[in-house]
Symmetry: C2
Subunit: 392 residues, 2 copies
Amino acid sequence: MKHIAILGSTGSIGRSTLSIVESYHERFSVVSLAAGHNIDAAHQQCLHWRPHVISMATEELAVDLQRRLRKNGLTATEVVWGSEGTVRVATLPEVDFVVSAIVGVAGLEATYAAVQAGKTIGLANKEAMVAAGEILTAAARQKKVLLLPIDSEHNAIHQCMRAGQRSEVRQIWLTASGGPFRTLPIEKFDSITVEEALHHPTWVMGRRITIDSATMMNKGLEIIEACRLFDLPATAIKVTVHPQSTVHSLVEYVDGSLIAQISVTDMRLPILYALSYPERIPSDLRFDMATLSDLQFEPPDLERFPCLRLAYEAGEKGGAHPIALNAADEIAVDAFLKRAIPFMGIPATIEQVLETTPEMHPATVKEVLAADSQAREMAREVLAAREVPHRC
Amino acid sequence: MKHIAILGSTGSIGRSTLSIVESYHERFSVVSLAAGHNIDAAHQQCLHWRPHVISMATEELAVDLQRRLRKNGLTATEVVWGSEGTVRVATLPEVDFVVSAIVGVAGLEATYAAVQAGKTIGLANKEAMVAAGEILTAAARQKKVLLLPIDSEHNAIHQCMRAGQRSEVRQIWLTASGGPFRTLPIEKFDSITVEEALHHPTWVMGRRITIDSATMMNKGLEIIEACRLFDLPATAIKVTVHPQSTVHSLVEYVDGSLIAQISVTDMRLPILYALSYPERIPSDLRFDMATLSDLQFEPPDLERFPCLRLAYEAGEKGGAHPIALNAADEIAVDAFLKRAIPFMGIPATIEQVLETTPEMHPATVKEVLAADSQAREMAREVLAAREVPHRC
């Protein structure tokens, strides 16, 4: 029996993880949850899963949840809050496996603490890896802890990497759906609306990741995540636009063989893979070979998707740059969702922030978080100073 | 340095192997060759490679070659002949790796002897695996010898199988180009000419394998080969028609992941993989991702390609049936190439031979060869008795 903590239990990955645990209750059990702000969902999860510990975003929410749980007679669940609470959820002695699925750098401290506590990590929080990849992988190496990617692309790469040694990898091909604007002419990019950007062709995901998919920043962050996870330079991570999202990524070996992973577009599959690794266990998430047809692959257009170029640049510079890339993106996407800037204002904002980002290499999680705050501040300043007319 | 014997050195796989050895002369050296009937090519190979031993098909050819080599002052190469000669080439003490590429069951004895002698085998001779797969794999297990497939499909499967355990494989998808008659209406199958059948859309290969590709018997034999190599039932080996021949095969795991291998259609790649396994070494056989587009996959049509159905049936029955399938096919293809029977006479002949094949399970190579001879005899009788008018 694997005992699981879920950081981000009410989000999309968290809920998929719970669905997998439900299907394989003889193998997996949930012992702790970090739920954030959604108190109704957290309440329901407590009633269903009866975790030892649950953490909420704030003390207020925690008190509210505790009161609700007492009404239900559920006194065994300890309710904690804040980043300390999340760390507690991630480091409980009875936890074997931590699913790190809190979006943004919020989950970073807890993920790092989980690595330090020797837990196996299922990593769905790509921002943690982008901002603190070097620190996390160094700690994981030292503690002999597995970092198993749950992102569908990195999970695919993890599978394909089993067909050879890391030193035998020539490059990695990250597939990208291309998002909703793959074929949109560049002159129409500035008038893209929030509603258009939130409509993703293949995956149903959270709001930030959906916008990141539309700007292809999602792929940009994945380039950096792949560098860190698989210990390769940014130049060895290529992107191929594959609108069908059927091939989840490919690994090209030095001998000329490419190994690709194909499956249904359902996050439960990478979650199941990570939870059961190194085993593979039977699932009904079957891919229908009759649907395998007309697979297309094309190079990405860096002009229409400048976020991709910015990510390569930040990935090559390393240090504070990937942190700033991610932080500025989060702020800029938020501004776009609030209709404060147009779609192409997202990369413009990030680029301005990157231009002023100092050449420094944070060595601790604390320094990462400081660099992150600084970049956010800078992004807000850039946004405040913007004189671009609002068009969406 | 790996010391290599090549069985079938003047054939297409043999020549590709020599080209790989030439490119990687710091890693591989050729110590012995079995060359068959092509004395001019054998002569050239001796001058270039100076093998310790070379075997020709007959004593006459061996004497002729020896005379020529003496003229060239090449006395260090020992010239032998016949099946005994081939066995000697395969079992020389200084040989580490045997490339088994003699088409048909002719290479079987020598391949078996090589396994018994503890040599690593690169297996390009699918008929040996079809006819004597159980015997070869049992001997390989006992001697702890690796049987590395050189067929592009099985080589692809070998690579994809590294991403999990054998027990975690749900099924294998062998890709088939579909051959030149993939889209030909069934009513035109009986008027297919030898020239049309010899024109393969993607691979340049020997004559029998090209016809086998046109009838899809090639894929049928590969189904049985895959069963033996990967220890799976025939029902777990599926065929998908993939006209681009870019994905060389896929392995479907129980969790729902498919792992696929993609590469250029060049036999040097699987040869290099087998020769260097478990390493992968750099090559210039690079796949151009810009060519990865419009990938099609469709189910095979068992009505137009009855050889596929016959292979499944023979594979499930096992014992003498796969032997008879292969033997009858070789005879029938020969008859077709000699314009003695029409294209659809190939499966018809094989089906008749299979109907009279006894339910027996050969336990030794000798018994396999006896069953093979018997099936050939039967195929000749069936052909002699044919009254189908010759139309091509």
